[in-house]
């Protein structure tokens, strides 16, 4: 067995009023990828913050490379070789790759900074990872996946031996994930240990060697990844067995409710035509950047449309701003809940009430507090949002519950079409099932549901019809019962041939 590089035992941590960690242990060996799993709020991040010196533990012992550390500070942790690649990347967007990599430890020449040396150094690590980026590029201009690679390169440049990756794949396309995994394997070969946190269990077989599972601040189990089945892992994470990962309800498909004809809006929405009917969930699959989010935004009136028609119950409607869409009964639960979905500084009540003030207020625009409370209480109840009070700030909720607020604020109204854009991103298995059930309820009520998702298993499991997009166009429509993930991927990578080349024809041809 290879060298033990991290050994945490009997770690406990109490925050005022709550025991965040209770007798937790974790062991990481050189050259292995340890998947740290658990639902939101299980204590994974707290444990990682202790390892990286952000929090100090109340009790327990922590050894890094066999050396016992008492109160670890972030600086000491860095010197001990611990680096975190955050889910939300901490980069100065306006600075260049080099500037970011050497931020706070710039190499000085005799008078000014030694840019040449820093660039050479940056190039060395980028090359080591096989990343083709010029160190002079501005970080903000690069895609998220590349920014992440730069973070990794930065970690290598400070000689980090223990890399903590928090949801590294949540914003990557499948091609980028493959690239990331290649790099992770390389890091492994170099004898570094990696702690890998992810909610996307399906990607673990490709990367994880070991697994440690936590629940409610407690250590549950750990072992070789191979010895666990997916069901074991889920059962250990949620503490109960989830019978159906993708609960499906069957409904009679009724008349056409919503139709989009020849919608064009910028480069990413080209000639989109589709329809939604009563009693069906229509999945929108595709790679990230396929134009699905842009399509939902154009429909909802967030971004301007160039042309195209939208019909609701056979009648043509005009949507130029979100308010038009909401009034017509077309609503959108957006992809990025922190950016577009929630007013994080406000309470649950204010968030749920916000789009429904027309119902809650009288003609003079004065809020009827009783009505507001009733509506919010009902939404919280219907969606089983876990909170002590509707007056609580939304940013105190876990990701899954925040997502429920994003969805919940639309269910108060009698909407006719509900668009979900990546509703399950970054939330745990239990909450995912709740969101699926919710979509099924809408479907049963006769509401047309448009369901954008990058996770193929859930699209195949939940949707009644799958529309695949690539590069701003619809490239096909499939019946999930008769299709496989490979079929979807084929359609999802059907890029237009910009260069006439036989190879590409073979690879991506029809």
């Amino acid at each position: 067995m290879s060298e033990t590089i991290v050994s945490m035992e009997h770690i406990s941590k109490t925050f005022p009023g709550v025991k965040a960690l209770d007798d937790v242990k974790l062991e990481l060996h050189a050259g292995e990828v340890m998947a740290l799993l658990g639902e939101n709020g299980a204590g994974k991040s707290t444990l990682m913050k202790i390892l990286s010196g952000v929090y100090t533990r109340d009790s327990g012992s922590m050894k890094i490379f066999g050396k016992e550390y008492g109160d670890l500070t972030p600086t000491a942790a860095r010197e001990a070789g611990v680096a975190i690649i955050h889910q939300e990347l901490n980069m100065c967007r306006h600075l260049s790759v080099v500037e970011n990599m050497f931020l706070g430890r710039e190499i000085k020449g005799k008078v000014a900074l030694d840019n040449g040396k820093m660039e050479a150094e940056a190039n060395k690590y980028l090359k080591e990872l096989g990343i083709q980026i010029s160190p002079r590029q501005t970080v903000g201009d690069l895609p998220v996946s590349k920014q992440q690679m730069i973070e990794i390169a930065k970690a290598l440049s400070v000689n980090a031996k223990i890399l903590i990756m928090d949801e590294p794949t949540s914003a990557l396309t499948s091609r980028e994930i493959t690239e990331l995994f290649r790099i992770i394997r390389k890091l492994k070969e170099q004898g570094r240990g990696i702690i890998y946190i992810s909610h996307r269990l399906e990607e673990l077989p490709n990367i994880a060697d070991k697994v440690t599972i936590m629940r409610d601040g407690k250590y549950i189990t750990s072992g070789n990844f191979k010895d666990f089945s997916m069901d074991d892992i889920i059962a250990n994470m949620v503490g109960r067995e989830i019978k159906e990962k993708f609960p499906k309800v069957h409904c009679e498909v009724g008349e056409k409710v919503f139709e989009v004809k020849n919608l064009n809006a910028g480069k990413m929405v080209r000639n989109i035509s589709f329809s939604l009917s009563r009693g069906e969930i229509v999945g929108f699959a595709g790679l990230m950047g396929a134009g699905r989010t842009e399509t939902t935004r154009a429909i909802f009136g967030v971004d301007p449309k160039e042309n195209g028609e939208i019909f609701l119950n056979g009648k043509k409607i005009k949507i130029t701003c979100p308010l038009d869409a909401i009034k017509a009964g077309v609503v959108l639960a957006p992809e990025d809940r922190k950016k577009d979905g929630l007013c994080t500084k406000l309470s649950i009540r204010q968030n749920i009430a916000l789009p429904n003030l027309d119902i809650i207020c009288n003609k003079a625009g004065v809020i009827n507090t009783k009505k507001e409370d009733a509506i919010c209480a009902q939404a919280v109840n219907d969606l089983s949002i876990k909170t002590p009070t509707i007056a609580a700030d939304v940013n105190t909720l876990s990701g899954g519950n925040q997502q429920k607020v994003v969805v919940g604020k639309w269910l108060v109204r009698n909407s006719k079409v509900v668009i979900f854009d990546e509703p399950t991103r970054g939330i745990d298995v239990g909450a995912k099932v709740e969101i699926y059930n919710l979509m099924n309820q809408l479907k049963q009520k006769g509401i047309a549901v448009m369901f954008v998702s990058s996770e193929l298993p859930e699209i195949l499991g939940i949707a009644d019809r799958v529309i695949v997009m690539c590069d701003g166009r619809i490239t096909g429509e499939l019946n999930p019962k008769e299709t496989t993930q490979n079929d979807i991927m084929k359609l999802a990578t059907m890029f237009e041939n910009k260069i006439d080349s036989k190879d590409q024809d073979n690879e991506e041809g029809k």
Binding site: V54, Y55, T75, L354, L357, C361, T387, D393
Partner: protein, 345 residues
Amino acid sequence: MRRESEMGAKKKSVFSKLFEIRGMGSVLTAFAGLIVIYIVFGVINTKVFSSQNNLNLLRSMSKYLLIGIGQSFCMITGNIDLSIGSVVGMSAMISATLMSHGMNMYLAILITIICGLVIGVVNGFLVGKFKLPPFIATLGTMFVARGIGYIVNGNHNTDNVASGIGKKAGDAFQNFFYYGKTLGIFNTFWIALVIFIIFFFILSKTRTGRHIYAIGSNVDAARLSGVNVIQTTVKAYLVSAFCAIVVGLILSAQAGMGNMDAGNMYEMYGVAAGVIGGVSPLGGSGLLLGTFAGAGVWQVLENGLNMIGAQVGIQRIVIGVIVVLAVLMDVLLRNGTKVTKSDKK
């Protein structure tokens, strides 16, 4: 993490319902500070407690309260209005110029209000529709409004308003806005109080108020929730302009004439009143009640320092320190542990 906050909320609910209101903590702190400062000065100089001084306090505080209300509206939307001090001066100049040239008082006030609101609309569109940084947009209108104030009477302060509309009407104007009393308290305070109550109601109980908080918290999410961002931004700037106009009228009534430099720096007094009362300049949070307390703190400090004979320089320093302390305390209380942790880095 979630459970932690649940516990926090449970503890709070034991205290009282008052604390459940977001931001009420800083409001109560500001009021407590107000009382402490008042008593401390009163102990040093008992004249502070005299009813004459109390009346004066209420009257002078009204100006800061009004300007604070306007600035708070803008700050809660996540913006700032640097032009309001100039709008104060412009309004004082326009109203006094018109009246000193003999225009009917009511008409003069109406024209003043319209001119001031135009500045508000321009601010609102520059920031809301054209997405100019509010600091820049209102910096521009700040200079423009001050310039208009200079131009209206040909680069001079105005004559006494009574010289144009007669002594009777002139007295009526001055009494209504400044020197007169109703129920034993100066009218200025009643005017400020009525305006405060109206805007307090709008901010806390109406759709417009909710929209103002929403765009201050997250403008993208608000838009996707069907909030008309341009309209709401314009409304906030209209409120700040309106409050500034009223202050302008008060100053012109106080002096009985228009002073070109009236309202200088008032935009910053408005920021201070709001910030002391817990209104976040980053938007999305703050209560108008806090602005009330903030304006009180500000005025009691100024008054008290005057009464104990501190020189103007000392007054400024003390006030500056108080503003920073109020916010620093808020930051430390809210995430004390985090701040010390990251300091260790």
